[in-house]
Amino acid sequence: MTKPIIEVKDLAKNFGKNQVLKDITEQVTPGQVIVVIGPSGSGKSTFLRCLNLLETPTSGEVDFAGENLTTLDTKRVNELREQMGMVFQSFNLFPNMTVLENIKLAPMKVKHVDDATATKRAHELLKQVNLDDHADAFPASLSGGQAQRVAIARSLAMDPKVMLFDEPTSALDPEMVGEVLSVMQQLAEQGMTMVVVTHEMGFAKSVADRVWFMADGYIQENSTPDDFFSNPQTERAQDFLSKILM
């Protein structure tokens, strides 16, 4: 069995008295696409944000490529974050920069790539997400779907080993969901390791290697999409699936 790239051990996270994550132990192997689903407020986003330490775990371990993030200094954490791209629900593009500048910023400031190389790479990525004609546009002029594709390209510019998606299509108009999902699917087909928090059951079914069902601060089920959707084991999952339109 290949070595896991992400390993979570006994992870717990409290916000004050509120226990959001209770005890999570899971692992992600390279090339895997994990889709995390579950009811709202079950801690999915918090879990994802603990993986790159945007949230500091209250207890437990998050290992990335064999290093325990919770024990590292800030500098090393920054270095490892480069290797974990993250895409947010609200895109979080930098509004004062053009699309091209958004993509070039981190490679140039963090990896100190020269301008010409960064520009060339940015154009390649924009072609990959079908937006090269918008290179000089400002984020405010983009539709939600376009903005999210730029955000994906921006993360890919750092050549990450893992991509984390935090409800990437939840803020989009329905007709724009498809263009983002197809970019993600393409990425999965290229062998990118992905952890996706989403409500898109269709995406989970067709793209995921594993589905993690999360509720009440625990990962209740870890199974293949087929098993999960046709034969959910826990009552919590059965209840959840019965409530969503399939």
Binding site: N52, E82, M86, L105, V110
Partner: protein, 491 residues
């Protein structure tokens, strides 16, 4: 909260005590005063040049310089010591403080050696025995005869002067109004805000000679010799210096130099001064004013901004004892600066810090205004940083950017855009507020206008000129700022 407050005041008290102690030690220097001057080769004379014929500004060959009988006295003293005289101008109120803090070596400004002043500085023998007159509007001639005619009326006098104190003491039923400069008093007189101005006889004569609408009447104040005489002031304890100067002063007295030579010479300057009182004639003075106003503003905006960024970051520091202390310090600084008048800060930097390092007035002014502006800018920036969506920081951090890089490349540029109007406002305010440094004698616009006013005996015209000049400056600045604001708009 209460504990914090007590701690804060304890700190403040310690600071003040420290400074007082410092002042005392500075005063208790041994008497090498004369040798120090001789070694330095210059004798710095402080004066308030709005008091013709004692001291005033005159345009000589297109250059403004301070002239008058006091300057002649100063020159004589310096010459006898074998050193060069340097004349430094500042407001009358600030003169003795400047002397005590070593900003100037001596003060000659028609100053009376009163017992109260003797407590703080050392005086030479008197070089001139004058008396008081009261200047009134010519149209009121006949109504007012002397100090006792002003019952129910108002007499004006220069703040901090003997005339002011005596007018208060020796009149009853008369309101005494103090103003910093004599030119303002004359203006108040002409606009009938006050009915008379008490001043030294020679000054009164100069004003009357140069302004047909004014007249002088005797004051009939009951005065001791020390109230009507003028002396040179030196720092307390500099006996050697005073003794040396006394020799010069005695000569001046013996040879009656003031009446024979100094006053006639001063009179000549007064005449050339009033030949051309058109504002255009003084364009160089105004230009200098604009130059200094801009220097002060631009430098203060620059340093104030840097300080503001640092302070705002310190105020947002979280976690750890060191960071908490930093946050507390920054917060205390901002609160303190915002809670004290800028004028006091300017004087404190010039006179207070002057005890430790001798800073020129311009540098002191820039430092004080930068320190002040920094506190305000810090609050704007803090607000601006808070206004940037947290998602921006998260996005940058998730790309592997350090917190510093995130701040510099992602958060600050957006914060700056958000607070640009406030920052612009601060810049425009600074152009106007830089006028405060006129009190320590920096030749910015207000200071220059005061000079032109006392030069020309015209009260309103110079004010109108600088009003227009200030507006041109601020309006141009706001256009430029708007241009950049538009360029930053992307949504």
């Amino acid at each position: 909260m209460k504990k914090r407050l007590i701690l804060f005041f304890a700190l403040l008290l310690a600071l003040v005590t420290g400074f007082t102690a410092l002042t005392t030690t500075a005063n208790a220097a041994t008497d090498n005063s004369l040798t120090k001057i001789e070694k330095k080769g210059t004798l710095v004379m402080g004066t308030s040049p709005d008091y013709p014929p004692y001291e005033f500004q005159a345009t000589v060959h297109g250059k403004t310089k301070i002239v008058g009988m006091d300057v002649a006295v100063g020159q004589k003293i310096a010459k006898d010591m074998g050193v060069k005289l340097v004349v430094k101008s500042m407001s009358f109120d600030s003169l003795l403080v400047a002397l005590q803090t070593g900003k100037v070596d001596m003060v000659i400004s028609g100053m009376n050696p009163t017992p109260a002043r003797r407590k703080n500085v050392a005086f030479t023998h008197t070089y001139y025995q004058g008396g008081y007159s009261i200047v009134i509007n010519k149209s009121d001639k006949g109504i007012y005869k002397n100090k006792d005619s002003f019952v129910g009326k108002t007499i004006g006098a220069q703040t901090g002067s003997t005339m002011y104190n005596e007018s208060k003491k020796q009149t009853s039923g008369t309101t005494v109004k103090g103003m910093t400069s004599v030119s303002d008093l004359i203006l108040a007189l002409q606009s009938h805000k006050i009915q008379g101005v008490a001043m030294e006889k020679p000054s009164a004569q100069a004003y009357v000679a140069n302004n047909k609408e004014l007249a002088a009447i005797p004051s009939d104040f009951n005065l001791s010799a020390s109230d009507t005489s003028a002396s040179v002031a030196f720092a307390k304890g500099s006996t050697a210096l005073v003794n040396k100067a006394n020799k010069s002063v005695d000569q001046i007295k013996q040879q009656n130099l003031v009446n024979k030579a100094y006053l006639p010479a001063a009179g000549k300057y007064l005449k050339t001064n009033t030949v051309n009182t058109s504002m255009f004639h003084y364009w160089k003075a105004f230009l200098t004013g604009i130059e200094y106003t801009l220097i002060i503003t631009v430098c203060s905006v620059f340093f104030g901004f840097i300080l503001g960024v640092l302070l705002s970051l310190a105020r947002m520091a979280r976690g750890g004892v060191f960071k908490t202390a930093l946050r507390w310090l920054a917060t205390a600084y901002v609160e303190f600066i915002r809670g004290t008048p800028m004028m006091v800060q300017v004087m404190f930097v010039y006179f207070g810090l002057g005890l430790i390092v001798n800073l020129p007035a311009l540098t002191s002014g820039i430092i004080a205004i930068s320190l002040n502006s920094g506190a305000y800018v810090a609050e704007y920036i803090r607000g601006g940083i808070n206004s940037v969506d947290n998602g921006q920081t998260e996005a940058a951090r998730s790309l592997g950017m350090s917190s510093g890089a995130t701040l510099r490349y992602v958060v600050l540029p957006q914060a700056l855009k958000n607070i640009w109007p406030s920052l612009g406002n601060e810049f425009i305010t600074l152009i106007k507020d830089s006028s405060i440094v006129s009190i320590i004698g920096v030749s910015e616009l207000i200071f220059q206008s005061n000079i032109v006013r006392s030069d020309t005996y015209r009260g309103v015209a110079p004010i109108a000129v600088i009003m227009v000049l200030y507006f041109i400056l601020t309006f141009t600045a706001s256009r430029i700022l708007n241009y950049f604001e538009r360029r930053m708009q992307h949504d």
